[in-house]
């Protein structure tokens, strides 16, 4: 397998992992919205309410930065990162 194929394989792996986390916090948990809302969550808000106003939103922000860092590592590993002057 060529260097580029390996790079793409890892990139795809990272994509699936990112999308899995994204799926959980944008879709998965809201399948149980009613049940989850019965339980008190962070700062005393009901869990579902908290996820819709802060939780999921904040997790997405962190997820994107995490994804960007991981992808940079993958690019470096295979020598595909950009030169600084580009």
């Amino acid at each position: 397998m060529s260097n580029q194929q390996k790079h793409w394989e890892k990139t795809r792996g990272l994509l699936f992992m990112t999308l899995a986390i994204w799926f959980v916090f944008s879709i998965g948990i809201f399948l149980f919205g009613a049940e989850m809302n019965e339980v008190t969550g962070p700062f005393g808000y009901p869990w579902t309410y908290w996820f819709t106003c802060q939780g999921s939103l904040g997790i997405f922000v962190i997820l994107i930065f995490w994804f960007a860092n991981r992808q940079e590592k993958i690019d470096e590993e295979f020598g595909f990162s950009e030169r600084e002057d580009e």
Binding site: W22, S26, L31, G33, C53, Q54, L57, F60, Q71, R83
Partner: protein, 602 residues
Amino acid sequence: MKGNFIDNLPKVYGIYTGGFIGFIIIMAIAEQMGMSAKAIGIAFVAFTVFIYALIGWLSRTAQADAYYVAGRQVPTVFNGMATAADWMSGASFVAMAGGIYFKGYGYMALLVGWTGGYVLVASLLAPYLRKFGCYTVPDFIGTRYGGNLARFSAVVVLTVASFTYVTAQINATGTIASVALDIPFQYAVYIGLISILLCSMLGGMRGVTWTQVAQYIVLIIAYLLPVFWISNKMGAGFFPHFMLADEVARIGELEQQFGFVKNSAADLANVPKGLAGITKAHSAVNATPWAFISLALAMMMGTASLPHVMMRYFTTPSVKAARKSVGWSLFFIFLLYSSAPMLATLSKLSLIDPSLPTGIIGKSIAEVQAIDWYQNWNQANLMFISDFNGNGTVELNEFFMGGKAVVLATPEIAGLPYVISGLVAAGGMAAAMSTADGLILAIANAISHDVYYKIIDPKAETAKRLVVARVLLVVIGFAGATIAAMEIQGILGSVIWAFDFAMSGLFFPLVLGVWWKRANRQGAIAGMLGGLAAGAWYLVWVRTGGSGFLGITQLTFGIFGSAVSLVAMVVVSLMTQEPDKATQKMVDDVRVPSGRTVIGKQ
């Protein structure tokens, strides 16, 4: 100042922010000295619009690279701010807290959808389109799939989606300008339009970028300052986001106590159009899982297909920067979106809690009708009470408000000085202008670059291309304003449709262009046109009394459109020849960040 402009950005915008805060303080002092509310409103809107116009003029350019992609040198964090302003429309600013106030959980799917979409942008598209080196989104489609028809189809989808969106934005600038400047809406729309064009006409993407950063600073100050102030004034907590649990619980208690009484149709006929009462629980789950998830999903896929957002990531210096920049964009969006539910909570509690001095439920009708702010907002057609049961006191089901009033009126109800209301007007104006600019530019650039330069006259010189681009900008702006002046749809409905149109036609052709090498021209064309047609058909069908299926409503028709698009694209691609070697090589190049852009200098 030494050094070039880019190196000095933090300093420039630091001074700008300081200057703006200074302006707020001067206005506050002027208010104490007797400046009228109307004069303060005019000063806020006029001052900020003047600054944007100045930035637009300073950013003027005659180079294609600067006009289309701001010279590809916008630093990550600043591009994040510009994207956040580009993204957060007049609807986000003025109507979102109101939507949460009235509809609660079911509406908050939009918060999840309009943020979650950025994960798709960052992981599926933005870095690859940046590597591609295109000027516009149809530029990517046209080059990846080849042929004028593919390019033209992308322009069609882009225009339909963005134009639906832009009329709502021009409408919002008109509404705010008409209130702040006290002129009729029909004229205010054109004043709004001229302000919008001043930012973008001379500098194109460069001008829009630097004005959007300035607009973000204004809109975020204008949104957060009142939220924090009201929370502190009410004694609800100095950092509302972490401290409103008791208030949320208290609203639930009051809802139980008052109950949601259903009004008769005859009673409701007296309520002015556009106003609503509180009929849904504040923090309870009031929508089925699928209703919530389908709306969130439609908004997420729409986010990843809207060209005016995508093209912001063409302006970063590198692929790496494009990825990080998506993170910063969402961070800056998060600041406002996470505050909207807090504002809705504070606003609702201050109105309905009888134990608070501002609460009106349980007071006598005559007493509430004598309150200053009630009279003001009643006159503006945003507030209304009526004694349906004739007992002389205001009940929960007898109080009606417009969605916009949550953002616009809460500062006044909570007893904040008028200077805050002026600030909020300036913030709403900034939000609507920045989004309108991004959208008009997206349409004009697609038509000037993809239709005029790439299809009609490939030999056109830069100067001529930029003249065409600017003429189109003005024409599209006026077309949008003319439709906005007719006041056909509400602000929010048309915004959501834009997402559905975009995802119907563009989501899969864009994503598969990068992630599926086998996708070819025929498939992409089938996907774009088939998806758009299917989505549009579904919308018309449901609007004209069709029953719909699978719980897909007129707000989520993009789910149907994009499903048709996916099937059409895959089936047609597999039935026709696979893309040639050169195209496959192009896809390989897009997938690695290093090396030159695929398109190269245009």
